[in-house]
Subunit: 266 residues, 2 copies
DNA sequence: GCAACGGTTACGCGGCGTCATTGTCT
DNA sequence: TAGACAATGACGCCGCGTAACCGTTG
């Protein structure tokens, strides 16, 4: 009563290619029930339609073929806890996939809307991106100011630079920006990346800037471009209900600035 | 003022590997601003941090590197219509990704719940799957019956088989099942796949079973297993708010049955 | 003898990661 | 001179598709 099929017929019944079946055979994922010793023709049974269907379903769930193999080989000998773990892992994968597609989708939609609304002022599909930024050790100097005064920041930077032995200075420099709560006071904190051998002195603060997930954008190194970038990053964050997880970081790369807004919850 | 970086430093600033940068160079995606003629060292500029950031953002959107190249090469010379088309294409990709992950996610959640609720009766993560099934030409015989009577179906099948010249019969046979609306009358319609040369006769009906998207499941060829399978397919459909788009198809493969429920709206 | 199947091996795709080997900088 | 960095090139990964070439079936 159990039917036997050759590879082509079996493939068509199952809705896959015979190439796929040969591939699964080699991987040990779905072995033919028999192989003709002389012709080496593969022979599949009707019961294997169900096996294959399971395999295809698991593939749809995003499992790799080796993962599927280890799953189907132990079916029945798997504890409920194991199954549950597997399902939860699959769930995680799927959710990650969905998330990493949903976020860009809102970006694209926003871009489509912006293009319609103010069709001239649109420079690219996504100018703000989310990225993980590594931590670094920095030396910094802090000052409060009422609003942004470039000269003050430049003066601070120079002070800091003269206090730092140049052999300890790394490649990155920038400014940390904070706002004192319940006031308009701005705290500017120019910094230089330093290596770990730098001695602790009272002229400057020595701290570890932690690694963060940050909203990041690049702009030209001038006040106008920078303020545009800050605006863009703020509206990007508010559109996503994300909140600031530390002082904003303004990194200077010659004629380019990178503005980073550390995010909470990642 | 514009800074120059060698590949390693630039890679670290941008958060990618130097391998990636060399790859992008070869693809013409991000050319170094200069290459030392003697050493062939690549040299990147600070302004390229922004370019690269755009490239990475587009990559996150699921574009291929050649697509990104054609995009960045024509930035500014692109019409609004072109941009809009591109964005809409991206949107489609993303939505497809989301959909093809969301459906399985509900499957997995259902499986997790089932496992909790009735932890013994669960046989696999997904026993019902959705698949596209090709159409075929069939010859069939129809009969109404009050409820399922196996003997009647078998008799019908035999009648049909004796009426069919065997050289026209294909590999697939089965039964179509329908329920007459507003009554419990069941319509059983055994069929055999036939090739196109079969002449039209009054002994049997000749029809084209259309290709469909169907909920499909396999079970052993016995009444108990089949009724379980029908139950499973019904609850699978109702859980997804899907409705039947034609008679159910019961395909016979020796000791296995495949139960298919054609779905509307695909 | 011919078409339609089956077999195997080898290469391609995308987006890099991972050597291995050689050259360059400090 | 050492050791970090640069260059190039070859191969690996995944899940097959495609092609080439040859044997089997009906």
């Amino acid at each position: 009563m159990a039917m036997q099929y050759r590879i082509g017929e079996f493939a068509e019944l199952a809705g896959v290619s015979s190439k796929t079946l040969r591939h699964y055979d080699r991987l040990g994922l779905l072995r033919p029930v028999a192989v003709d010793a002389r012709t080496r023709y593969r022979c599949y049974s009707s019961a294997q339609l169900r096996e294959l269907s399971t395999i295809l379903a698991l593939r749809e769930l995003g499992l790799s073929l080796p993962q599927i193999r280890s799953f189907v080989q132990r079916t029945g000998r798997m504890s409920h806890a194991d199954r549950r773990t597997l399902l939860l892992r699959i769930r995680q994968n799927l959710q990650h996939t969905i998330q990493s597609a949903t976020r860009p989708l809102t970006d694209v939609d926003a871009a489509l809307n912006r293009e319609i609304d103010i069709s001239g002022a649109w420079t690219g599909p996504v100018s703000v991106v989310m990225r993980r930024r590594p931590g670094m050790r920095i030396a910094s100097l802090r000052a409060e100011m009422e609003g942004y005064v470039e000269a003050d920041v430049v003066r601070l930077e120079r002070e800091l630079l003269t206090a730092l032995p140049s052999e300890f200075i790394g490649a990155i420099r920038g400014v940390l920006w904070q706002r004192r709560p319940d006031s308009d006071t701005l705290i500017a904190e120019p910094f230089f990346e330093v290596n770990h051998a730098l001695p602790r002195r009272s002229f400057y603060e020595l701290k570890d800037l932690p690694p963060v997930m940050a909203a990041s954008t690049y702009c030209d190194n001038d006040d106008y471009a920078a303020s545009e970038a800050y605006q863009a990053i703020n509206s990007w964050m508010s559109a996503r209900d994300l909140s600031l997880g530390g002082p904003k970081r303004e990194l200077c790369f010659g004629d380019m600035l990178e503005i980073q807004a550390p995010l909470t919850g990642f």
